[in-house]
């Protein structure tokens, strides 16, 4: 078992007194089995129609606490539609979604206390023109409690390596800074589930690595469960517990070693697919 899973399980045991659930959640499939324990997110037979086409068809999965799950697949596979439907941002054609034990309403309704525990980082977030909102103002909008708001904002900015940016306008930030500020927006109040839609899009290699490391640290310290759409298979391989391969339907699911094996990737992306590994990393085994 990967050392990271053991670490997560230990962390889970400290928090909840049970080691079994976290280990189980990281490897368990199908979702009906995961449903036996506590689940953060439970998706059952979800279908989503976008622009008259079925973008997502009959997808089921579940996430257990403090796991990091990647959603991978080619462009147009329905990844963004899936996460948006899971959060109730777009309507679903069929199926059901339960978030933190609460059923998502037909129009995406969730009780506010449940919604407050879920954060979403959109794929494209770039304030247009000179947007007159400071970083501190924006982070406070993430739901900082009225009492001690200034301290909560400051703490979030420090956690996300954004000290000194408080008075900068959002439109004055680099792409990397903007992503970190978005994380501060999430950290400003306790969350249990973080959903990221290609959070590393638009970042250069160094900024992407910084963001990834920050996300990993925050996940451990905050106890987040993560569902992230990603095209960075190396990052997924290194840091995610579980991978869901989507191409309209769920094609495979499991550990990164299993789901990102050459055979599975060829099946997901087509037989012309050839994984490229960075030179500083060990080459993929055929």
């Amino acid at each position: 078992m990967p050392a990271r899973l053991v670490a997560i399980a230990k962390s889970h045991k400290q928090r909840h007194g049970s080691q079994h659930l976290a280990i189980f959640a990281a490897v368990a499939w199908p979702p009906s089995l995961v449903g036996m324990g506590e689940t953060i997110l439970e998706v059952s037979h979800l279908s989503v129609r976008q622009g008259g086409l079925l973008a997502v068809e009959d997808v089921s999965f579940a996430l257990a606490p403090e796991t990091d799950t990647a959603l991978v697949g080619p462009n147009g596979a329905g990844k963004s539609s899936l996460v948006q439907a899971v959060l109730g941002l777009i309507p679903r054609q069929g199926g059901s979604v339960r978030l933190l034990g609460h059923a998502l309403g037909p129009h995406g309704q969730l009780p506010p206390p449940v919604r407050d525990q879920i954060a979403y980082l959109p794929q494209l977030f770039a304030p247009r023109g000179r947007f007159p909102l400071t970083v501190a103002e924006f982070v406070a909008l993430g739901g900082a409690p009225a009492a001690g708001r200034r301290q909560a904002v400051q703490r979030s900015l420090e956690l996300c390596a954004c000290q000194g940016l408080e008075r900068r306008l959002l439109s004055e930030l680099s792409a990397g800074q903007l992503k970190r500020v978005l994380l501060a927006f999430c950290v400003v109040r306790p969350r249990r589930l973080l959903v990221l839609d290609e959070a590393q899009a638009g970042l250069d290699a160094q900024a992407a690595e910084q963001f990834h490391n920050l996300l990993f640290d925050l996940r451990r310290s905050q106890g987040w469960t993560i569902l992230q759409v990603s095209h960075d298979l190396d990052m997924v391989r290194r840091s995610c517990d579980r991978v869901l391969c989507l191409n309209r339907r769920l094609r495979c699911a499991g550990s990164p070693d299993h789901a990102l094996s050459p055979g599975q990737l060829a099946q997901l992306y087509g037989h012309h697919y050839a994984p490229y590994r960075h030179q500083h990393e060990p080459a993929a085994q055929p």
């Binding site: 407050d116 247009r128 400071t134 993430g142 708001r149 306008l169």
Partner: protein, 288 residues
């Protein structure tokens, strides 16, 4: 003619001028307030379309022989709601669609006006405004709407800012995007309907957009931005009105030209602005 202090005092003593100044102050503040959100939500062209379409409502009032303001208010709200629904469902680019709507509305209204017997305000007054003809009823309506707008925008401030930034992000935080959009569209429609009398159909959009654009160039925080936009709107209207009285200029264009000067000043000031330089950022304690 060179105006002097005595001419100004005489002007300020006239009841219709006092009403006009009060109307300019309130309408300018209202335009700046709503414009600050409209500009961030990229709805500047929407206010333009609303303004041009208002000529249809005015034509209807002339044809029926009714008080133009009382006809224009429901007309503008219904028109705005219909256009909003069309824009959200259409697959055409929003600017192209709004262009079609406002051009068609203007053309139909002018054609209809040409067939009606001449009565009430002339076409020029409708196109460029006649703030000197403002009544106590108009003033009461403007003051009431300004109060409602301040209360509603303060109450829904967080939702409106998040929607200006990113709709999916706002929705993920539980913001009812459709409800917030309807709320703002109705407020904007009512403001346009009431401000038409001050600046007319053709200049109403500038009246809403220009103060906000000027404030956006120099503000380093949301509260400051909204306040500055309202101040430019109100101040520009009052100064423009006084200038129009002293120099015998058409009032609507004079108001807009003074607001343009405010925008140019902001443009010049922004040229020296550097990121992180200003210490006037709002406190996070005032947000949300």
């Amino acid at each position: 003619m060179t105006p002097d202090a005595s001419a100004l005092l005489v002007l300020l003593g006239l009841p219709f001028m006092q009403r006009a100044l009060l109307a300019g102050l309130l309408t300018g503040g209202l335009g700046g307030l709503l414009g600050s959100v409209a500009v961030l939500r990229q709805m500047a062209f929407f206010s333009d379309a609303l303004g041009h379409a208002s000529l249809l409502g005015l034509t209807l009032a002339v044809a029926l022989g009714l008080n133009p303001t009382l006809v224009l208010l429901p007309f503008a709200v219904v028109f705005a709601l219909v256009v909003n629904a069309v824009v959200r469902r259409s697959r055409l680019p929003v600017d192209a669609l709004l262009n079609i709507i406002y051009s068609a509305s203007l053309a139909i209204a002018v054609l209809a006006l040409s067939r009606l017997p001449r009565q009430g305000p002339g076409l020029e007054a409708l196109l460029f405004g006649d703030i000197l003809g403002v009544t106590w009823l108009d003033l009461g309506l403007i003051a009431g709407l300004l109060l409602v707008a301040v209360v509603l925008l303060a109450r829904h401030r967080r939702s409106q800012i998040l929607l200006c930034l990113d709709e999916p992000l706002a929705r993920s935080r539980g913001v009812d995007a459709e409800r917030q959009q309807l709320l703002f569209v109705v407020l904007l429609a009512l403001a346009v309907a009431l401000a038409i009398k001050a600046v007319g159909v053709l200049l109403i959009s500038a009246f809403i957009v220009m103060p906000a654009c000027g404030a956006r160039l120099v503000s380093r925080g949301f509260s400051g931005y909204v306040l500055l936009s309202s101040a430019i709107g109100a101040g520009g209207a009052v100064i423009g009105l006084l200038a129009s009285g002293l120099f015998n200029l058409p009032s609507g264009p004079a108001l807009v030209v003074v607001q343009l000067l405010g925008f140019v000043l902001a443009l010049l000031a922004s040229a020296t602005d550097r990121p992180g330089a200003a210490a006037s950022a709002s406190s996070p304690d005032r947000v949300g």
